[in-house]
Symmetry: C2
Subunit: 390 residues, 2 copies
């Protein structure tokens, strides 16, 4: 079997096409079809209050715990386009439904690209026709093609599979945070041939997202379009336990998140931040996020500079219990700051490698702990994100 992603689990068909939405002429539309016999689905969406039209349509579609298809486009986010944007997203679901002979209410829609330009609906309509035609004639192993068609400034497509005894979970994803030059958004589609209720899927997805996508924080920006959808076909005839499902979904989400972090725009360092020694996991997450979003800290990482003072200055502003006189910081397991004071040799720690592990103990002795994955702030990030949007 050559497929390695969403079409690895049985019961899924995927196709891709070049509709001409991207100026680059690269593939820009994809269709994922769940052929059943079951159609359980769950999703998590952006926490941004400014949500793109496709997010509104997909939220409604998944509300009953059932989806039969997801249509994707890259090159245009269909966000901030007013009522016309909503109508366009709805029309996409209707066209897919008509082409596949299914209810439009069972079709989710995902878009990624520039905010504020209307979808080129002539190209979208033709694209949906092509996707449906491909699905008729083949498309059983279209997972890799779909993963490619949803890319924006990703440099590699992102797929993952968790193989189990008689069933599997597959996934594809693109982007990370809002990193790209006006292109944006994290889109992830997870498939499984396990038999699983929408509630079981929602539980697994929620748990997995919490420790993967939710803690991946490249620039603190949250897209209007972020969407993670999980679909279950039941085609394996196997009903895993909740724990088994959780573990398999977590496995593919971890893989996709790690691929996103590695491919994040302008990245020269992958930085993993773990905070402990505070009252709750939530507080630890606040502190880890605050540090992961601190530009001075991120610039220091870019410069391979073990400037631990910036770590203290950053976490000192976090909403987390701490003992300001008892904070310790470790870079790549070496203590650089103990009891809020520099450790011997702290300025000589070698951070020249591509991975930096940062551990911060806030000194209260509390049990709270959390890990966030981020990146450095590089010239390439500024370059890519200052490019003109048109």
């Amino acid at each position: 079997m050559t497929t390695t992603g969403i079409t690895t689990p049985r019961g899924f068909r995927a196709t891709a096409t070049t509709a001409g939405i991207k100026a680059s002429g690269k593939p820009d539309m994809a269709l994922v079809i769940n052929e059943g016999p079951e159609f359980g689905a769950a999703a998590v969406f952006t926490r941004n209050r400014v949500v793109a039209s496709p997010v509104k349509v997909s939220r409604e579609a998944v509300a009953d715990g059932m989806l039969k298809a997801v249509v994707f486009n890259s090159g245009n986010a269909n966000a901030c386009n007013g009522p016309q944007g909503d109508r366009d997203a709805r029309e996409e679901a209707e066209l897919v439904g008509r082409a596949l002979g299914i209810d439009a209410a069972d079709v989710a829609v995902c878009s990624t690209g520039l905010i504020g330009d209307l979808l080129p609906m002539d190209k979208i309509r033709a694209g949906i026709e092509q996707l449906a035609a491909h699905a008729e004639t083949g498309g059983l192993d279209g997972g890799p093609a779909a993963a490619e068609a949803i890319m924006t400034t990703d440099t590699v497509s992102k797929q993952a599979v968790a193989e189990r005894d008689g069933w599997s979970v597959g996934a594809m994803g693109k982007g990370v945070g809002m990193m790209a030059p006006s292109l944006a958004t994290m889109l992830v589609c997870v498939t499984t041939d396990a038999s699983a209720s929408s509630q079981a899927l929602a539980d697994s997805l929620k748990k997995a997202s919490k420790v993967t996508f939710d803690t991946l924080d490249i620039d603190g920006s949250t897209s209007t379009n972020d969407t993670v959808i999980v679909l279950a076909s039941g085609a394996s005839g196997i009903t895993p336990s909740q724990e088994e499902l959780d573990a398999a979904v977590l496995e593919v989400c971890e893989s996709i998140a790690a691929q996103m972090q590695a491919d994040a725009e302008g990245v020269t360092k992958r930085v993993t931040i773990t905070v402990e020694g505070t009252t709750s996991d939530e507080q630890a997450l606040n502190a880890a996020r605050t540090l992961g979003r601190d530009n001075l800290f991120k610039c220091a990482m870019f410069g391979s500079d073990p400037n631990w003072g910036r770590v203290l200055a950053a976490v000192g502003m976090a909403e987390a219990d701490m003992d300001p006189e008892r904070i310790s910081v470790y870079f790549n397991s070496q203590a650089v700051c103990v009891d809020s004071t520099g450790a011997q040799g702290a300025r000589e720690v070698d951070l020249s490698g591509p991975d930096v592990d940062v551990r911060v103990d806030l000194g209260t002795g509390g049990p709270g702990t959390a890990t966030v994955r981020t990146t450095d702030l590089s010239h390439a990030y500024v370059e890519i994100n200052s490019a003109y949007s048109t």
Copy 2:
């Protein structure tokens, strides 16, 4: 009169010296002396819970509403140096007190520079002797020299004066946020020869800071050393009303804040963000800060890119009441987004000038409004802040 800052008001003496703390060999210590007849004082300090040793000493010194002198050094923040840092800061106050024949409890201490290195106390001790000797023999017009000695990566010194009928307010300041390459911190000293109680001074400073220094947000980072001190000598014999004092203090604080914004590291654009149409001023400030800290927005500003979609994506995450379908955005007074949808010609707005004015209406019709001053995110920012700390 050639002085234009803290020595413009009568009753103040200032001196500066080169103690050798800075590797560059530039002036790095300053002393401001209030010769009375009154010694009212007030101060605001960093909100960071990790506070530098000089902040602890100054907080205690100003607690009784009286200060007679402030000693400054640049080149070393004396932050995160544990009990030895506290002892060193306290010794500074004692040495100044002894040299001037005043109580150490009436001496505030301000430091700015790298976090985590012990102060070179031999140089500090010699520096204080020099400062005090200069003050004996002259120093009446030492304001400009003091303003220069507190600079870190500031490219120009920052002074301001508000002249009134028979009295005046002067000020000097350095830095902005935590912008510099491991050097850091906003330090501001305001002087007046008005007769004013410490309570009146505290009121004026609090009001002025709220709309000047508190809303100046270059990178979201908050220094461990930020300090703004106001001193009143009463030498004019004039007691202005609270409103008069407020206005004069605000005038110099506005000037210093504007000078800081203009000189912020790596800046190519000065960006003023005003948010309105939400429930409270506090919510408007939350939204303005969230936008002002959004790297994608700041990169777009660097690229002179009227990418208003990033404005919506950023404010959509802010803790502020909004109508997500009714948000409007103006760049340099031109509407680029109305009712959360792109306006005609939005992509053609010219942002090539050095000043960009951004106005965001969150669409609730509420009375809340706030303004934040920030800058773009440029290659120079990354360059400066990724330089090795040693």
